[in-house]
């Protein structure tokens, strides 16, 4: 079944609510190994996205996601701003003028977004960053599609892989961002960026379950 533009809008709205409900938890994770602003920054960003969204509701999926990306760029700040902005903008560019997509299109869009994040952040797998949730999520999504899973199941597998990747950041020593200054002291703590990206993909799986 198809993932419609309205499904995409619902996902963005749902994620904005997820951030609203979890911003304190994200900031607390960041307080321990970073600089205590991730939740507050994402909240500021997605509040602005919610204000901006009505102006592009009747546009194509690419325009919607690029608008989300541009809004995050000007509102989030920190490293999360450019990284999340790139994730949404590259995914939006990949989807272009589509008014609906299938799960293959989504996999391609996600891959483009992740490539953008990796290029900008210059991080590798196991550096204790958002990529530690994103890479496994993409791999699981592709594998599920290859196995002929339904859209809902493929997205669920993808979200579960993100979650596992997020938990796997706990023992890692950070090599990027502020947490890297902690060295070995960063081990034992879950990465805030991997956490917010896991929430993002869980929101996808939840909102597009019946697509």
């Amino acid at each position: 079944m198809a993932i419609l533009r309205d499904d995409v809008l619902n996902w963005v709205r749902d994620y904005a609510q997820v951030i609203e409900d979890n911003h304190e938890m994200l900031t607390e994770l960041d307080r321990v190994i970073g600089d205590a602003d991730h939740g507050a920054n994402m909240r500021r960003g997605f509040k602005a996205v919610m204000e901006k969204l009505p102006s592009v509701e009747d546009k194509d999926i690419g325009t919607i996601l690029k608008t989300v990306g541009m809004t995050l760029l000007s509102k989030v700040g920190g490293a999360g701003g450019p990284l999340y902005s790139t994730l949404f903008m590259k995914a939006g560019m990949s989807l272009g003028a589509k008014m609906e997509m299938d799960v293959n299109d989504w996999a391609k869009a996600l891959e483009a977004g992740i490539l953008g994040v990796a290029t900008l952040g210059k991080a590798q797998l196991n550096d204790k960053t958002m990529l530690d949730a994103l890479y496994p999520a993409l791999d699981a999504l592709k594998a599920a599609i290859a196995d002929g899973a339904s859209t809902g199941n493929a997205l669920k597998k993808s979200a579960e892989a993100a979650h596992a990747g997020m938990l796997a950041t706990i023992p890692l020593i950070a090599h990027k961002g502020r947490a890297s200054y902690l060295g070995e002291r960063s081990a034992g703590h879950q990465d805030p960026g991997a956490t917010s990206t896991t929430l993002l993909l869980e929101s996808v799986a939840k909102t597009w379950m019946d697509c």
């Binding site: 205590a36 920054n41 990284l83 090599h175 990027k176």
Partner: protein, 333 residues
Amino acid sequence: MKKLINNPEDVVKEELKGIALAHPDLVKVKFDPDFIVRADAPVKGKVALVSGGGSGHEPMHGGFVGMGMLDAACPGAVFTSPTPDQMLEATKAVDGGAGVLHIVKNYTGDVMNFEMAADLARGEGIEVESVIVDDDVAVEDSTWTAGRRGVGLTVLMEKIVGAAAEEGRSLQACAELARKINAQGRSMGMALTSCTVPHVGKPSFDLPEDQMEIGIGIHGEPGRHRIPLEPADKITEMLVEPVVSDLPFKEGDEVLLFVNSMGGTPLIELYIVYAKAVELLEAKGIKVVRHLIGPYITSLEMAGTSITLLKMDEDLLKLWDAPVKTAGMRWGI
């Protein structure tokens, strides 16, 4: 949390309002996107300097906007990098036709946002050069981390390169001068207490009453180690030694010694640190020819200090002594 604030979300906007009311002779404050520019910007034919970073380090950077120093500063939320739209608008507002130099402290967010802003500005036909400051010797392993942080040396760079731009030097010359300063300056800081980011409401890290953190960053990032509290002389030694041995500064060198307060440490204590630092340097044959003492690059209300050494030469001395007229630094006028 005990702070002189209203709504934590409004801290930066309300601060900017105060700056605009206090210093209309020096600066103009722009909102949405937020930035501070010299009152007489753009200065035609002069290279313009733009810096910025998270708020909470006052007087850096907004307090350094004015004649002989920065042309614009972009304040982010507290301890959060500003965004590319702020930097782009600031860059456009100060471009006097001779190009714009971005002075960027080496933090992941600052570097990424300034990189995007520089690309956008170049796309609009403005010549932009970027210089990264990474003077913090506390970060020992720069291969497996985000690299050394930009700390105290930033203040000295903004003053000296600001003077060079005022003198009419080219964008290339200003960028080279900034890189030279980065190559011959080093810093290290320590904290006696933590600090509380307004919208977080609790201390950024927990530091027991009898402990201190040596090698702290300006956002409460951890340092090299946490150890029991020691007297000022011993602490000064713990900061001066790694700074001197890193470059290394050598016998016969002439230096500028900058003793900075992290925000909560009073001048009386900074002078105690200064006296010991001079003694230690002189014992090594290093001559302190200029100094800066006070809260210039702070970390909210954190108690603690940082020491910065910059190797001076005739050119740097002349530029350091040149007139400057900003809210945070002012002499020679």
